[in-house]
C-alpha cells in the first residue's frame, strides 16, 4: 500500500488517554418501556432509580417509546438542558436502533459515537417473561455495564474520502459488458479489462441461447460493438490486473497487457496472414475440435476486430525462422517487437465479472470423456451445431463424422458431486433441454434421451421449453448415468442408468452422448482479498439484501463469478452492480467507518502478529519498522487487537479498557452465578436477538458483551472474568469456517480456545465453565439451549478462584476495597436485595 490514508497514521498519542483526562462526565440514561414489551416484565421505575446511583449519571428519564419522535426529542432536549456528554438508551437491541439514536444525538450536537444502547428487551423482558424479579435485576446489571462502558467512550471523527469517478470492470463477458455499458452511459469513465483477445465470454461461442433459443452472437455482437465504440469505455484486452492498492473511492490499479504482435488500428481483419501461416494449433474457440493458425482471430465477430499472434505457437516473427505473415500483410500491421506493457490508472469502484469455467469432464472418468470420441460436452456440442463452428453446423460424431441417429444427454456432470462440486450449477438443466431441442430442430428423426436426476426448469419461460421438448418426442428418464462403455468396433456407446422411476436398469446404446457440464468456480485468482466460497465463487456481503456487494467497500460482483447462472441473471446482476457502484461514483465523496483500529506505538513491541490477523491487509510496516493501520481499509473487526500480546491496539468503542469495565461491572455481585457471554455483532448477537424475538425463555444468568467480531475476544477477557469469579464464560461467533462477516475473525478466535483451556486447567477451573459456540443469526433456538445448559453449569459453585498472576498488589487491593464499598452502599440504600453495583474503584471514586 503506497497511498497515505485519510485518517492520518496511527502514530501519535494513544487516544484512550484523552478520555481519562476529560474533565466532567455527564451521562444520561434513558430506560424505555417499549409499551408493555419491556414495561410488563421489568420494573422500569426501579431500574431508573437505580440508574441514578451509578457513577457519572446525572440524568435519568423513563420513556414509553423512546424511539418515537417525542422520545427522541426528549433525549435531544436533555442533552442541551443537562449538558449530557454520554447517552445510554436502555431499550431494544442495538441492531435495531443504534443508528436511530446515534442520529438523534448527532442532531443535538453530540458526537454519534458517544451514544450506546443497552438491550433490555431481546435480552431481558422477552426471554425472562416469567421471572420479573431477576429480569429487573439483570436489566440493572446491563445498564450498569453500559454506563461503565459509556464512561470511557471517545468521540470518533466522522470521515469521508473523495471518490475518483471512474470504474474498473474485470472480465468482459456478457456481465462485464453490461456493467460497463450501464456505467459508461451514466457518464462515468470505465476501464474494462479482459484476459482473452476478444470480449464476449462464454456467450460469444454459444450457438443458440435458452429459453427462447435465439442466436447468441446475433444478440451479443451488437453489444460488443457498442462496448468498443463507447467514448467512456477504455477496453483493455489480453490483459490482467497486476496489482491494486488503495481503498474505496481511491483504488490505484496496474494492468499488465500481453503483446498482441498485431497493430489493432492497422489490421483490417482481411485474413491474408492466415493463408501463409504454416503452424496449426487446436482452436480454443472450437473447443479443440479443429485447428487454427498461430496468427488468428477468435471468431469473425471478435472485438477488437483484429488478429493476434500466439507467441507459443509462432515459429518466429523474423525472416530467418518464418516471418511469412509479415511479408504478406499489406497493412504492415504486424509488430514483431511488441512487448508486454503496464497500464496504470485510478478508479473509485471495482466490479468483478470474471465468470466461471465450464466444469472439467475428465474429473468424472466413469463417463469416458477423453477416452471415447463420441462422448462430448455441451460446450463441444455448441460448436458442432454452430454454423460458424468446425462442421458448419452439421452435427456429426467425432469418430467417423457421421450424423448420429440417437443421442443421450447426461445431466449433472461436474455438479452435485462431492468429488467435483457439490452444488447444483443452475443453468445446465435448461442447457440440456436446449441441446435436445436444437437436435430435434435440425434432425427431427434423431432419437434424443435426457437422463436427469432432478429436472430443474425453474426460470421464466423454462417450462415452455420442457413441454416443447416433450412434444418433440425427447425422452426424459429419471436416473443419473452410472457409466458409459464403448463398443470398440462401432464406437457406439452403451449408457448404464437405473431408471429410478421404475427401479430398473436401462442399458441403451447411443451413437453419441452429450455431457451436460456444470460450472466450476474461477474466482479468487485476483490481487484483491475478496472472500470466496469453498468452490471458488465470490461471496456477497449479504445473500439476500446485498447480493452484489462484497465485504470490501467499493468492490462489487456480478454474473458467473458470483454463482453459476444464465445470461439473463448475469445481466440483471451486472446492472445491479453498476447501479450500486454508481451510487458511490455519483456522490463524489464516500463516508468511511470511523471505528478503525490504531496501534499505540509506545506499547507496540513490533512483533508483527497483527499483520497476519488482518483479513483486509490493512496493517503494514514502514521502513523504520513501525506498524501502522490504514484506516480506510480497516473494517474494525478487532481481530488484530484480540491477539496483540502487548494489548497495543486501540479499538474505538471496543477498547480493552471498556470491555474489562463491562466484565468487572457484570461480576460485581454474586459472580459465580453469572455467565459472561461474548457475542459478535453479525451472527451470534443476532442469534441471541432472535431468541428474544421468538420469546424463547431461558435463565437470567447471562451478561452479554457485544463486539464487532469474535476475533476481538482476547484470551485475557476470559481470564479476567474467571479471576473475578465468573461462573462461566461464553465466546460465541459466526459458524466456522466461512460465515464470519470479517472473513477469518472466528478462525483466529477458535485458535485461542486451547490457550484458555490450558490456563483454566492450570488454575483448576472446570472445563465446562468455558464454551466456544458458533451461533448464526438464525439460531435463536441454539442460543436458548446454550444459555440453559450454561445456567446449569453455574449451579455448582466455583472450586477455585485464581488470584490474578499478572496483576499488582494494588489491583487486588482494589477488588478488596470495592467489596467493602459495595456492602456499605447496600446498607445505605437499605434494600433487601440490593441491585447496587459500584464494583470498580473508578466508579466509587467518581461517586465520592
Amino acid at each position: 500500500m503506497t497511498t497515505s490514508h485519510p485518517k492520518g497514521s496511527s502514530a501519535g498519542p494513544p487516544e484512550a488517554e484523552v478520555v481519562s483526562s476529560e474533565p466532567e462526565l455527564r451521562i444520561g440514561v434513558f430506560p424505555c418501556k417499549c409499551g408493555k414489551n419491556i414495561g410488563a416484565v421489568v420494573d422500569i421505575d426501579a431500574v431508573a432509580e437505580y440508574a441514578k446511583t451509578l457513577p457519572g449519571v446525572v440524568h435519568v428519564q423513563v420513556n414509553t417509546y423512546t424511539c418515537a419522535d417525542p422520545g427522541q426529542r426528549e433525549i435531544q432536549e436533555a442533552i442541551t438542558q443537562h449538558g449530557l456528554n454520554r447517552i445510554v438508551v436502555a431499550s431494544c437491541s442495538p441492531t435495531m436502533h443504534e443508528d436511530t439514536f446515534r442520529k438523534t444525538v448527532k442532531a443535538a450536537g453530540l458526537n454519534p459515537y458517544l451514544c450506546i444502547m443497552t438491550n433490555i428487551r431481546e435480552h431481558v423482558s422477552w426471554v425472562h417473561q416469567h421471572d420479573p424479579k431477576s429480569a429487573t435485576q439483570k436489566a440493572m446489571d446491563l445498564i450498569a455495564m453500559s454506563v461503565a462502558k459509556a464512561a470511557t467512550l471517545v468521540a470518533q471523527p466522522e470521515l469521508d474520502v473523495p471518490v475518483t469517478q471512474a470504474a474498473l470492470i474485470v472480465g468482459a463477458g456478457v456481465a462485464g459488458m453490461q456493467a460497463a455499458l450501464d456505467l459508461a452511459d451514466a457518464g462515468f469513465k470505465v476501464h474494462l479489462v479482459e484476459r482473452q483477445p476478444t470480449i464476449g465470454g462464454i456467450m460469444a461461442i454459444l450457438d443458440k441461447v435458452f429459453p427462447q433459443n435465439d442466436c447468441s452472437i446475433c444478440i451479443l455482437g451488437p453489444k460488443m460493438v457498442d462496448v468498443a465504440k463507447h467514448p467512456n469505455i477504455s477496453l483493455i484486452t489480453m490483459a490482467e490486473v497486476e496489482s491494486i492498492s488503495g481503498y474505496v473511492g481511491n483504488f490505484e490499479v496496474r494492468v499488465k497487457q500481453r503483446p498482441r504482435y498485431v497493430d489493432m488500428d492497422k489490421c483490417t481483419s482481411c485474413g491474408d496472414c492466415v493463408e501463409v501461416c504454416p503452424v496449426d494449433v487446436p482452436s480454443r474457440t472450437d473447443q479443440n475440435l479443429t485447428w487454427q493458425k498461430a496468427i488468428q482471430i477468435p471468431f469473425p465477430q471478435a472485438v477488437p476486430s483484429s488478429y493476434f499472434i500466439d507467441p507459443e505457437a509462432c515459429l518466429g516473427m523474423d525472416l530467418i525462422r518464418c516471418g511469412k505473415c509479415i511479408d504478406r500483410c499489406e497493412q504492415e500491421a504486424i509488430i514483431p517487437s511488441d512487448k508486454a506493457k503496464y497500464i496504470d490508472f485510478d478508479v473509485g469502484v471495482i466490479i468483478l465479472a470474471t465468470g466461471f469455467k465450464p466444469a472439467d469432464p475428465s474429473k468424472t472418468p466413469r463417463l469416458g470423456w477423453g477416452r471415447f470420441p463420441n462422448v462430448i460436452t455441451t460446450l463441444e456440442f455448441e460448436r458442432l451445431i454452430n454454423a460458424a463452428g468446425p462442421t458448419e453446423g452439421k452435427l456429426v460424431r467425432p469418430s467417423d463424422l457421421i450424423k448420429p441417429t440417437s443421442v443421450a444427454i447426461a445431466q449433472c456432470v461436474g455438479s452435485r458431486d462431492i468429488g467435483t462440486r457439490s452444488a447444483c450449477s443452475n443453468y445446465c438443466c435448461a442447457e440440456s433441454v436446449k441441446c435436445a431441442l436444437l437436435i430435434k430442430e435440425h434432425y427431427p428423426d434423431t432419437e434424443v434421451t435426457i437422463y436427469y436426476q432432478d429436472l430443474r426448469m425453474h426460470g421464466k419461460y423454462f417450462e415452455d421449453q420442457y413441454l416443447k421438448a416433450r412434444e418433440e418426442g425427447v425422452k426424459f428418464i429419471r436416473g443419473r448415468v452410472g457409466e458409459i462403455q464403448q463398443y470398440p468396433d462401432t464406437k457406439n456407446l452403451r449408457v448404464s442408468v437405473e431408471d429410478t422411476t421404475h427401479n430398473k436398469l436401462s442399458m441403451e446404446t447411443f451413437d453419441m452422448v452429450i455431457l451436460s457440464m456444470g460450472a466450476e468456480g474461477a474466482a479468487g485468482d485476483f490481487p484483491l482479498p475478496i472472500s470466496c466460497t469453498s468452490d471458488s465463487f465470490y461471496i456477497e456481503s449479504h445473500p439476500k439484501l446485498k447480493p452484489v456487494d462484497t465485504s470490501s467497500a467499493g468492490v462489487f460482483i456480478c454474473g458467473g463469478a458470483e454463482s453459476p447462472k444464465d445470461i439473463r441473471d448475469s445481466v440483471i446482476q451486472a446492472s445491479a452492480a453498476a447501479g450500486r457502484a454508481a451510487i458511490i461514483l455519483q456522490k463524489g465523496r464516500y463516508p468511511i467507518e470511523a471505528l478503525s483500529a490504531k496501534i499505540m506505538q509506545d506499547l507496540c513491541s513490533r512483533c508483527g502478529t497483527c499483520v497476519s490477523r488482518c483479513p483486509y491487509g490493512a496493517i503494514s510496516q514502514d521502513g523504520t519498522g513501525k506498524f501502522t493501520i490504514m484506516g480506510a481499509l480497516c473494517q474494525a473487526c478487532g481481530t488484530c487487537a484480540g491477539d496483540c500480546p502487548q494489548d497495543a491496539i486501540y479499538m474505538p468503542n471496543f477498547t480493552s479498557q471498556q470491555i474489562e469495565a463491562q466484565i468487572e461491572t457484570a461480576l460485581a455481585e454474586n459472580p459465580s452465578d453469572k455467565i459472561v457471554a461474548f457475542a459478535c455483532a453479525f451472527c451470534s448477537y443476532r442469534g441471541s436477538d432472535l431468541a428474544g424475538v421468538s420469546r424463547m425463555q431461558y435463565p437470567t444468568n447471562a451478561r452479554v458483551i457485544r463486539a464487532m467480531c469474535s476475533g476481538r475476544y482476547s484470551v485475557k477477557f476470559a481470564q479476567k472474568a474467571f479471576e473475578l469469579g465468573a461462573g462461566a464464560v461464553l465466546y460465541s461467533g459466526c459458524h466456522l469456517p466461512a460465515d464470519c462477516h470479517f472473513q477469518t475473525g472466528n478462525v483466529w478466535m477458535a485458535k485461542r480456545e486451547p490457550r484458555i483451556r490450558g490456563w483454566m486447567k492450570r488454575n483448576n477451573i472446570e472445563d465446562e465453565r468455558f464454551r466456544v459456540e458458533w451461533v448464526s443469526a438464525g439460531e435463536g433456538k441454539k442460543w436458548q439451549t446454550i444459555m440453559t445448559e450454561m445456567a446449569n453449569a453455574v449451579k455448582t459453585p466455583r472450586k477455585n478462584i485464581p488470584t490474578p498472576k499478572t496483576q499488582t498488589v494494588a489491583k487486588s487491593e482494589k477488588s478488596a476495597k470495592s467489596k467493602t464499598k459495595t456492602t456499605s452502599k447496600d446498607k445505605q440504600a437499605g434494600k433487601p436485595r440490593s441491585p447496587s453495583k459500584g464494583a470498580s474503584q473508578k466508579k466509587t471514586t467518581r461517586k465520592k
Partner: protein, 165 residues
C-alpha cells in the same frame, strides 16, 4: 451386545445413509444389479432413510463387496459398509440365508473354506516349495467364539431348523 447396540448401529446407519439423494449412480454401476436386479443398493439405502428400517428381503447378501458403488457415489455414501451393517444386523436377528450359515459352519468345522487339494500339494512338492500348514479348526473356532460369530451362527442355525419344521 443387546438392544442398545442394535439401536446405535441403526442410528449410525441412518447417519451414513442420510446424504443419499437417490440418483441411481450406485445401482447402475453395480455388476450384481445387472444380473440380479433384486440387489439394488439404492433401494437398500432408501429403506434405511425413508422407512428407518433394515430391509427384510435379504437382498444385500448378494453384494459382492466390489466397492464400485462406494467409489462412484457422488455424495460419498459408504454403500458397501451400509450393506455390510445391514447384513450384520439381520444376521443377529437370525435372518441370514441358510447357505451363508452353512459355509460358516463348514469354516468352523474344517478351519478353512477350500481345503488344499492333493494336486496342488503334489505341484508344490515338484516345484520344491515347502508344505502349506494345515488349517487348525480349533483356532478358527476360537475366533468365532471371541468375536461372537459363533453365537450368531448358532442363532441362525436354530432359525433355519425352526423354519424347516
Amino acid at each position: 451386545m443387546g438392544e442398545d447396540f442394535q439401536r446405535n448401529q441403526l442410528k449410525e446407519l441412518k447417519e451414513t445413509a442420510l446424504p443419499c439423494f437417490q440418483c441411481g449412480v450406485c445401482s447402475s454401476s453395480c455388476p450384481v444389479f445387472r444380473v440380479s436386479p433384486e440387489l439394488n443398493p439404492r433401494l437398500s439405502v432408501d429403506s434405511i432413510i425413508s422407512r428407518g428400517k433394515v430391509p427384510s428381503e435379504g437382498n444385500e447378501w448378494l453384494c459382492a463387496y466390489c466397492l464400485m458403488c462406494d467409489q462412484r457415489c457422488p455424495m460419498g455414501v459408504s454403500l458397501a459398509e451400509i450393506l455390510m451393517v445391514i447384513k450384520n444386523i439381520s444376521a443377529r436377528e437370525g435372518k441370514a440365508p441358510p447357505d451363508v450359515i452353512e459355509s460358516a459352519e463348514s469354516l468352523m468345522a474344517d478351519g478353512c473354506q477350500s481345503p488344499i487339494s492333493s494336486r496342488s500339494e503334489k505341484q508344490r512338492e515338484d516345484m520344491g516349495l515347502p508344505k502349506l500348514p494345515r488349517a487348525n479348526p480349533a483356532d478358527v473356532q476360537m475366533l468365532f467364539r471371541a468375536t461372537g460369530a459363533a453365537e450368531v451362527v448358532e442363532l441362525n442355525r436354530k432359525a433355519v431348523e425352526e423354519a424347516s419344521e
